[in-house]
């Protein structure tokens, strides 16, 4: 059986404690993943300043060139996997096998990660707003006639990662050219991508010491969050709750991304249906940047009906089907649980499901949830502002004056409106993390724009600096 080891500052370690992750279809173990005990992580992290020193000896320019090489290796090379080898095709099949994401979508995610690595200078340009990155080598510099200095606030970036979609791993890769070692805790079903990214970096010439990879339990994850000077944490409400008031831990909770349509007297909504469908269903609807709400000021029911008709065309397909667009559930019980939860909420007045037929579908040995569209005429309904990891969307109609306040915290909002007052309010609200004004799908990412927090600002602080 394939084994994924722990990486202790780049050194492979096989634990006596392993977790076997089954293939979603056969139920047979596909991979055995070594589990790090909490104390082992704690002991290693005592030495993390040494790993930072090793990484810091490389110049940013050198690390950028390593990123570009790693991009090619990640997407095209056969890379080491604990004594065996892993081709890109193996990788795609393995990710699909344990997570249930169709192979075609895994491949798209592979290209997304490759894209971030390949375009790393543009990404860093976006994060730093054009800083001459040589400043990170010397600690200070002069740009546009001004003296600048940045200080790194941590010896490592800890990341407690999810299993929902491989593309999410593109968020932490800029840490390497920013000279900060990584301490990664993969999701149970998705150890593949962080391990392969690390292997691609190492093969490209990055210092092995910069990569620590600890599949572990709750206590181990906690240890990473406690000990790393900066961290990112992915998870649902109860997972992230203890950390919401800890600024050194960047929370990536539910996105509740939305599309807002306020057209006044016009009724052009039909031309945005494809954009909404893409925002809801792209990548299997699994990402936090997928829209889970369409908030409108008029034509709500009509929009919901049209969406139901379009989304219903996306049917589950076998995971190796080239057009498969919906992910299977690694744990069928969770699929049934979520479906029952939706049904329970639908019994409360104020919401109607407009998609028809069975929501839970068994196909080719896998369990799927079919796209689901809810029409909410009550913005307070429990289904109005909720997110699930499949193509699920609620269409909510609210008066324009109440819209911004009612929609609550939103990771990505796409606003389709010509109303200047509403646009002004949307720009002003801190509730929206990323705002698209105009017909831009919520899942469309711009390389040079920070996505879900700004990693550079998370890791570095600008300080006053004078040279006498």
């Amino acid at each position: 059986m394939i084994h994924i080891p722990i990486l202790r500052a780049g050194r492979s370690y096989r634990s006596l404690n392993t977790v076997r992750v089954p293939h979603i279809k056969t139920g047979e173990p596909l991979v055995e993943v070594s589990q790090a005990n909490r104390g082992l992580i704690a002991k290693d992290l005592v030495d993390i300043p040494l790993q930072k020193e090793v990484l810091g000896q490389r110049s940013v320019a050198e690390l950028l060139s390593i990123c570009k090489k790693a991009a090619r290796l990640f997407a095209t090379a056969t890379l080491p996997l604990d004594g065996t080898l892993q081709s890109p095709t193996d990788y795609i099949q393995q990710v699909s096998g344990t997570t249930g994401m169709p192979e075609a979508l895994c491949e798209q995610n592979l290209f997304k990660i490759q894209g971030v690595l390949e375009n790393i200078d543009t990404v860093l340009d976006g994060l730093t707003r054009g800083l001459d990155l040589g400043v990170l080598d010397t600690g200070w510099g002069v740009q546009n006639g001004r003296t600048l200095s940045y200080v790194c606030e941590t010896d490592s970036l800890g990341a407690v990662l999810p299993s929902n979609s491989p593309g999410v791993h593109s968020l932490w890769v800029p840490a390497i050219p920013l000279k900060v070692p990584l301490v990664l805790k993969p999701g149970r079903e998705e150890p593949w991508t962080p391990y392969r990214v690390a292997q691609a970096f190492i093969a490209a010439g990055a210092p092995t010491e910069a990569f620590s990879f600890y599949p572990t339990d709750y206590a181990g994850a906690n240890e990473i969050l406690v000990r790393c000077g900066r961290a990112m944490l992915f998870g649902g409400g109860s997972t992230v709750a203890p950390w919401v008031n800890t600024p050194r831990v960047e929370i990536h909770g539910p996105g509740r991304s939305k599309i807002i349509i306020h057209e006044g007297e016009q009724s052009n909504w039909k031309q945005y249906i494809d954009l909404i469908v893409e925002s809801v269903a792209k990548n299997g609807g699994r990402s936090c940047i997928n829209a889970s709400g369409v908030w409108v000021t008029t034509y709500g029911r009509e929009i919901a009906e049209a969406l139901a008709e379009h989304l219903a065309r996306i049917e589950p397909k076998p995971l190796d089907h080239p057009e498969a667009g919906i992910a299977a559930w690694a744990n069928p019980k969770s699929a049934h649980g979520i479906s029952s939860l939706i049904d329970r909420h639908l019994k409360e007045p104020g919401a109607t499901e407009l998609t028809t037929g069975d929501r839970v579908v068994e196909l080719d040995g896998c369990t799927f949830l079919r796209p689901t569209v809810i029409w909410c005429d009550d913005a307070e309904h429990p289904l109005a502002n909720i997110e699930f990891p499949f193509p699920f969307v609620s269409v909510v109609e609210v008066p324009p004056t109440q819209l911004v306040e009612a929609m609550g915290a939103t990771l990505v909002a796409t606003a389709i409106t010509e109303d200047t007052a509403l646009t002004r309010d949307l720009i002003a609200t801190p509730l929206i993390d990323r705002l698209n004004v105009g017909a831009i799908p919520t899942n469309q990412i711009s390389w040079d724009s920070p996505h879900e927090g700004n990693l550079f600002e998370h890791l570095y602080r600008q300080r006053a600096f004078q040279l006498g």
Binding site: L16, N17, N37, R38, A42, L225, P242
Partner: protein, 357 residues
């Protein structure tokens, strides 16, 4: 003597011990109010019907609710009514703690355990640091007695595991860290100030925290008796290879209801598996099918821990613990069943805050 003969003899000794203990607890002259009252509702006399361990089935399963709340004196055997009585509580991670009375049992258990410790790792006359749960737990006094029994003096640090559980439950990570540091700094004071402290009792997590701050071999620690919470093979390996290499490291499993189980002597062939043997015939562990506790699982198979405690102070037949393990074969040192890879029952693993200190 060959192993199978030893096994047979230990079984015979167990049956004789069961008869003696049942006779003691169900006799109006010596027994405790709880069992005497219990016997009134039986349609048989346990002293006549129970001829050996297998016959304990006729008493059903001991229920943990019987130990939660009072009156605690119903557990005091009449024969000990005039003795000084201790009461010890379990961890309290599942509501009202279970309590157990004791007179000398904890002395006896730890004196027996002492015989399994080496003189090199735990030198006679050396002092101890007890860095584990204090308060109403038996460990605090038991470790002190162990130290005294071996001619040593025991130093202590206060530790309230229930407060730690609260901090974990409510995600108060920083307070948890502060409390841990508070405990560890006191332990460091003892280790630095008292050169004759060569033996340590501590829990896995506190051992890790201590090792971050100090080299235990350098301050003269020779033996570590580690317990209080579950340990797995990976922790055992990590401790021996990285935390305290060269120190005599003895994992143990004990609880207020059973006493103290000894660990199989270290053998590289076991690949760090932790195999415990209960203190026969004072306590017996059987691993049973969780769906049908009347069915013993085979060697190597996983079963739920069914614990029977048989002392003159405490009689607890066939109590279904919240732990599971694999059934281990008898060995010459301990010619009765052992348990390997002891852990919380799978079905409870997400609902109970356990082993946090």
């Amino acid at each position: 003597m060959n192993l199978s003969r030893k096994i047979n003899e230990s079984r015979k000794a167990l049956d004789a011990h069961v008869r003696e203990i049942v006779k003691w607890h169900f006799s109006p002259r010596t027994g405790c109010p709880f069992w005497l009252e219990f016997a009134k509702n039986l349609d048989f006399d346990p002293r006549k019907e129970i001829g050996g361990y297998a016959d304990l089935k006729c008493l059903g399963h001991f229920e943990d609710e019987w130990l939660r709340g009072g009156p605690v004196r119903r557990w005091v055997p009449k024969a000990y009514a005039n003795e000084p009585i201790y009461v010890f509580e379990t961890g309290g991670s599942t509501g009202v703690p279970k309590s157990r009375i004791s007179i000398r049992d904890f002395h006896i258990d730890y004196e027996l355990f002492s015989e399994s410790l080496s003189d090199e790792g735990f030198p006679t006359g050396s002092d101890w640091l007890m860095l584990g749960p204090t308060g109403p737990r038996r460990l605090r006094l038991a470790v002190e007695h162990l130290a005294q029994h071996r001619g040593g003096i025991c130093f202590h640090v206060d530790l309230d595991p229930r407060w730690v559980n609260q901090l974990v439950r409510y995600g108060k990570n920083e307070e948890l860290d502060a409390y841990k540091n508070h405990v560890i700094s006191q332990a460091l004071n003892v280790l630095r100030a008292h050169e004759n402290v060569q033996c340590l009792f501590t829990t896995p997590k506190l051992l890790e925290a201590l090792c971050e701050k100090i080299s235990l071999p350098k301050v003269g620690i020779k033996g570590i008796f580690c317990g209080g919470t579950e340990m797995d093979a990976q922790f055992h390996r990590f401790a021996r290879e990285e935390l305290v290499p060269g120190i005599d490291f003895i994992p143990t499993y004990g609880n207020t209801l059973m006493g103290l189980a000894a660990c199989k002597p270290f053998d590289p062939a076991d690949n760090y598996a932790i195999i415990y043997y209960p203190p026969h015939p004072r306590a017996i562990i059987e691993l049973v099918n969780p769906e049908n506790p009347e069915e013993l699982v085979d060697y190597g198979e996983t079963g739920r821990v069914m614990l029977t405690t048989l002392t003159k102070e405490f009689f607890m037949p066939r109590f279904l613990e919240r732990d599971e393990a694999e059934r281990a074969e008898p060995i010459p040192e301990y010619p009765w069943d052992g348990v390997e890879n002891l852990r919380l029952l799978t079905e409870l693993q997400e609902s109970v805050v356990v082993g946090v200190y």
